[in-house]
């Protein structure tokens, strides 16, 4: 099972290394982690994708909450959420393949952000599944290099992960 957790943390030096250290110390299997500032510059938001059963999820949540710099943790996957990741994919092109690649890219509603005679850089955003599917399709043209962000996510509707810490 995959779970998506959002954690509000104090925007201070060293916080991220504390969190990463916690994951490795407790042996948690983290698929991705993404951090960025929130609407309040004193606070950053971390989105982690964790693999494991409910017991693992419970421990990750509780251990994160135990860190002094972590203000709040919520499990976004329990209710509805929207999640997006982003990948930049540099694909080899030639005259023949150019058309095909652009066609696929259109279907995936990607953006071509760099063009050279031998390669394109394509920006794809979306759910993990969509990004994976796109990357798979690009493989046969030859991926020269690629970079991916971790998933970021928000709960659907008016519900929000805000600062008052519970528990």
């Amino acid at each position: 099972m995959k779970h998506v957790l959002a954690a509000l943390v104090e925007n201070k030096p060293g916080v991220l290394s504390r969190i990463i250290n916690l994951f490795s110390r407790r042996g948690f299997n983290i698929e991705s982690a993404a951090v960025g500032e929130t609407e309040d510059p004193r606070i950053s938001r971390l989105t982690v994708v964790v693999a494991g059963d409910d017991k693992v999820l419970e421990q990750v949540t509780k251990q994160l909450n135990k860190l002094i710099d972590v203000i709040k943790v919520s499990d976004l996957s329990s209710d509805g959420m929207v999640g997006r990741g982003l990948a930049l994919v540099k694909v080899s092109v030639d005259r023949e393949t150019m058309g095909q690649i652009i066609e696929i890219s259109d279907i995936f509603r990607t953006k071509i952000i760099d063009v050279s005679p031998k390669s394109l850089i394509i920006e794809v955003t979306g759910t993990d599944e969509k990004i994976m599917a796109f990357i798979d399709l690009m493989r046969r043209f030859g991926i020269k290099e690629m970079a991916q962000t971790g998933l970021i996510a928000l709960a659907r509707g008016a519900k929000a992960t805000t600062i008052k810490k519970e528990g």
Partner: protein
Amino acid sequence: MKKIGTAIILESLMEEGVEVVFGIPGGVLIPLYDEFYDSEIRHILMRHEQAAAHAADGYARASGRVGVCIATSGPGATNLVTGLATAYMDSIPVLALTGQVPTTLIGNDAFQEANITGITFSVTKHNYLVTDVKELQNTLREAFYIASTGRPGPVLVDLPKDVQTAETDYKKDIKINLPGYKPTYGGHPKQIKRAADLIISAERPVIIAGGGTIISGADEELRELAELVMIPVTTTLMGKGAFPEDHPLSLGMLGMHGTRYANYSVMNSDLVIAVGVRFSDRVTGKIESFAADAKIIHIDIDPAEIGKNVRVDLPIVGDAKNILSSIINTIKIQIKKEKTKDWLVKVKRWREEYPLSFEESGETVKPQYIIKELYEATKGEAIIVTEVGQNQMWAAQYYLCNRPRRFISSGGLGTMGYGLPAAIGAKVAKPDEMVFDISGDGSFQMNCQELATAVQNDIPVKVAILNNGYLGMVRQWQELFYNRRYSGTKLGYLPDLVKFAEAYGAFGTRVTRKSEVRSAIEEAIETDKPAIIDFRIEEEENVFPMVPAGAPLDEIIGGN
């Protein structure tokens, strides 16, 4: 009012009521040590920073207050790590102040630079690197607060040299702002009600009290609950003293080297009330079969402990003292004591059938006999500190402990070398009490340099070395599970411990026969000096009963 960093540090320590610190100076700490030169705060110069951390820890365990240790940058700071890990595993409030190279040099591999905040992430409750003197006062206040509240633990504050000497305003009153730290103290009323119901209807209940009971100061409530409902009580190693061990309802310690009757009681119970325990593998044995027929109520201040190791039927997060007294109030009106009568008869039968026992043989000195004599000679009133290994287990089994904070042992980390410095810390906290370190010949040698600290500062701790010539606990496992192949466990050479004591200016004596045990203990008690007794015990004596690692708690070998 303007003050420099070091003055702010001393002022903050005074405000927190710190009377004593344990440490060793170094280059980047000279500014701070200059403040100690004419401060009211007592500085005890240790001989190793590991020992400074253990002494602060022993002080904290004996007194319930935050213990403070100090080390210089680089090697001084890294020497603290084992001590911090020891305190962390046992939830002990310790504040470590470390010197750091000036902020302008951090990251450059300056002389004696170590990234001690990075190194200690996993062994502290929290840590700080102070890079601006304006943050210093707040940081120290927070550090004390975090160390001593909720589930306590060690906190480290790293102090670059230039921060120590910079000047800023000292505020009379500062507020703590920790949005991410809000420990829960009161238990949930609904859960408390449910717990009360379970307790009232249980037929074979048992209480397991752990270190959390002692930290919370819940020993009286625990006793009241046990007597009210007539529930037998067992403790973990860390819980020793949470319940009087000479009480008729006491089952002593459970777990790997616990009493048979404690383990049988837990395994046959229909309700386990676990108070401030974390269900370590040394306590549960094979986890799947632990108290299989019982419902488990788990009371703990740390939500992350709930369900971490064993399945829990009813968790209550909060302070044990609060929760137990609420449970008592809920139960009081409706309790019938007869409910557990048959169960108590059964438990009593186990107790009679399987008492702790060992074989006496002529004039050979048995370690268990020594501890029993020590118990008699001190009327059970000494503060006992232990090392790690067989000595620790014999101490736990045979020195009954009737009050909290009087049995001090590295439970979670099992740190050899803990005992002597922790005993020094405990004796500093409780100068009027007799403090005995029950030691092993291996463990003693890991921090024996601290005898100098004890002699220099007139801290008369007593050390009973159960000298078996072996790293005994490891040897025992080799004997039982590795066909007596004693690889790397024979200590072979040991300095003459009597001469060793004398060389340090302490009192030393040796015991080779059973009939000398009592008089040696009495001599050690009578001298004003720190004292060492070298007890030459039976070399291959084992600690029994024993539940082999990973076996169910009722598959017990030895000792009846």
